[in-house]
């Protein structure tokens, strides 16, 4: 529901739709609702983000606000499930999403939670044009949706400050992920409508490494996520990158 629309903007929002956004926000943020697997994954993802960002910038990860003062860009922020925690951890977060609806939902929720987050309905390329740069670019499950991967990666690179960091998560193109894409299992994060996910656009780690080389980036770490359907919980698996994986990329 989020990222398919990265390239198609809908600017048709009027005040009367606010109620609808509130309902959508509730849906996004219901820990036991439609996005439950995502909520379950979140602590694992945030821990990964926190630890690697903290290590890169020499912070103590168990400090109450280990990311304080860092400018972070969250590309494809959706309802703000990553942007809000990063803000609580001290970061100044800019959330980007192509969908105006998502941005509206995210804004509404952050406001209610009393969190200051800069949300923009825009694409990465729009920010490149205005010359913005960030300490950290967070890029979770976006790259497999974009039309032009090379162009996108180039844009992302120019959004990272020198000595900055990008954390990127995506899906591997393997037999395993193919099977899962077909059944549309929870494994693939349920926000993706069944079957419509384009498996061909999934990115192999070797291809990601190639993209990094092209942009003079250092692919510092790769790590997999594994879902346990019995406990509906996620864990980090250093070596298992067969389906979902996350990368630490340094500029």
């Amino acid at each position: 529901m989020t990222k398919e629309i990265l390239s198609q903007f809908d600017r048709t929002i009027d005040a009367g739709e606010i109620d609808k956004f509130a309902a959508m926000a509730e849906e996004w943020w219901d820990e036991d609702g439609k996005f439950k697997p995502l909520h379950r994954l979140n602590p694992v993802r945030i821990t990964f983000l926190r630890d690697h960002i903290a290590a890169h910038f020499s912070r103590d990860p168990v400090d109450i606000a280990p990311l304080s003062g860092l400018n972070v860009l969250d590309i494809g922020c959706g309802g703000g499930l990553i942007a809000e925690p990063l803000t609580r951890l001290g970061a100044n977060v800019t959330g980007l999403d192509a969908s105006e609806r998502n941005i509206e939902v995210a804004r509404l929720h952050a406001n209610k939670m009393g969190l200051e987050i800069e949300y923009k309905a825009a694409a990465a390329s729009d920010l490149v044009r205005c010359g913005c740069k960030f300490d950290v670019v967070v890029n979770l499950e976006v790259i497999e949706h974009v039309a032009d991967v090379d162009e996108f990666m180039k844009d992302c690179t120019s959004l990272i400050k020198p000595n900055g960091l990008m954390i990127l998560a995506t899906l591997n193109r393997t037999a395993q992920s193919y099977a899962l894409a077909i059944i549309g299992a929870e494994y693939l994060l349920r926000w993706l409508p069944r079957g419509t996910h384009n498996w061909r656009k999934f990115i192999r780690p070797s291809e990601l490494a190639g993209l990094c080389r092209k942009n003079a980036l250092d692919l510092a770490k790769l790590c997999g996520f594994r879902y346990n359907p019995f406990t509906s919980s996620w864990s980090l698996e250093e070596r298992d990158v067969a389906v979902n994986y996350i990368a630490v990329i340094k500029r």
Partner: protein, 412 residues
């Protein structure tokens, strides 16, 4: 809900008793912003006669107090328990010869726990709290209304101060108004007993021995304190309490000596006599939207096993762990997920102890012949069964169940 607040924080704790203050310090130590509100005026709860009780602090609770840096302020006032003697007794017939004897060497090298006056605990907590940068203590703050919504809470004090937070924690004691107003039902039972509490000074050394005699009116406990003193918790039938309370000092002391036996030598009364009504209470739920109950607000038990405060401190360690773990991944500390996990973790554990203490009291607080005999046999039997005894001891020491990190002695 209006968003204008005079003081906003991550967490609002209403009730700055031992449980609330410990939780406030714990959360603040982890960096969270905490408001701790109590209706009492400054220093009122550390005044000499505010609370005459002393508490048996189990090792698990000691670990919590050590973990949050309160222990150094307490240690000088803490008296270790090296021995526990439990016996069936009768004020005229004396102590039954069948004795249950707990020696700390049965479970390890450390004492069973410590006896500390509540006032000393409050003083130490107050001193540490004033050093916590992210903890704001608001006194003379009687919270009279609470509004809870999906995104946060706002409470108002009698004098009109508005306090907002993501999560409200009710540590407002057995009569918790916040619990009642949230519509959380309780199971309650008043005992037809009260406890007379006082401190005595004695001639001989108690050698760290805690004694609990089961007298027909209720348990009679002598808890070893510092400076050759004992804290007496004399639980008695409700209709006799007024009589004992009204006795002149010499006759009151005589009643005490009769129960004490002579093993401590001559005794003197060194405090006023306090009376505490006894009740059992268990909240049917520990949480509601943006609200968690801790300590006596969630559960009150008979003091027969000296566990009430210890249960409350275990709530503190569990809830603090869940909150801090959530805050460390940038989560919403007042979310349903945190609250549901807290209730699952603590309610059953407390339920078990509540049931056990209630039946202990029922079994022991009477003078029925055959029951007395089987009781004595029972105690003697437990004494001969090292494994059963070990289990009971470990439970009393707070070492059973899935333990929070602070209780285990690990960093939060």
């Amino acid at each position: 809900m209006s968003n204008i607040a005079d003081i906003s924080a991550d967490i609002l704790i209403v009730g700055g008793g031992i449980v609330g203050a410990t939780l406030g310090i714990t959360l603040s130590r982890a960096g969270l912003k905490v408001t701790l509100a109590d209706r009492l005026a400054r220093e009122a709860d550390t005044a000499k006669n505010y609370d005459g009780r002393a508490s048996a602090i189990a090792n698990g609770s000691v670990n919590i107090l050590k973990g949050i840096g309160v222990w150094p302020d307490l240690e000088a006032n803490a008296s270790p328990i090296w021995d526990i003697r439990v016996a069936d007794g009768h004020p005229l017939r004396g102590i039954s010869p069948l004795f249950l004897h707990y020696d700390h060497s049965d479970v390890g090298k450390s004492p069973f726990g410590y006896i500390i006056e509540n006032r000393s605990i409050r003083e130490a907590l107050r001193a540490v709290a004033s050093d916590c940068k992210t903890l704001k203590l608001v006194q003379s703050a009687n919270v009279v209304s609470v509004q809870r919504g999906p995104f946060g809470v706002i409470a108002e004090t009698e004098s009109g101060i508005r306090l907002s937070a993501s999560l409200l924690i009710a540590a407002d004691g057995r009569g918790s108004q916040i619990r009642n107003e949230a519509g959380i039902k309780t199971r309650t039972k008043m005992y037809d007993q009260k406890s007379i509490v006082c401190n005595i000074r004695h001639e001989r050394d108690h050698a760290g021995t805690a004694v609990e005699l089961f007298l027909p009116g209720g348990p009679f406990a002598m808890l070893p304190m510092t400076e050759h003193r004992c804290n007496v918790v004399w639980t008695e039938r409700i209709d006799l309490v007024d009589h004992y309370m009204a006795l002149p000092e010499d006759r009151f002391l005589k009643e005490l000596s009769q129960r004490f036996g002579g093993w401590l030598g001559k005794i003197d009364l060194v405090s006023q006599r306090h009376v505490y009504p006894l009740g059992m209470l268990h909240a049917e739920r520990y949480t509601s939207q943006r609200l968690a109950l801790v300590g006596d607000a969630a559960h009150a038990i008979h003091p027969i096993a000296g566990q009430g405060l210890n249960l409350g401190l275990r709530d503190v360690a569990a809830l603090a762990e869940l909150i801090v773990d959530t805050a460390r991944v940038g989560g919403d500390v007042g979310s349903n997920n945190v609250l549901a996990r807290y209730e699952r973790w603590r309610r059953f554990d407390n339920f078990v102890l509540i049931a056990v203490t209630d039946s202990l009291n029922r079994l022991f607080s009477n003078d029925i012949g055959p029951l007395r005999l089987s009781r004595d046999m029972g105690l003697a039997l437990v004494d001969k069964l090292p494994l059963v005894k070990k289990f009971l001891m470990r439970h009393a020491m707070g070492q059973v169940g899935k333990l929070p990190r602070l209780v285990r002695g690990d960093a939060l």
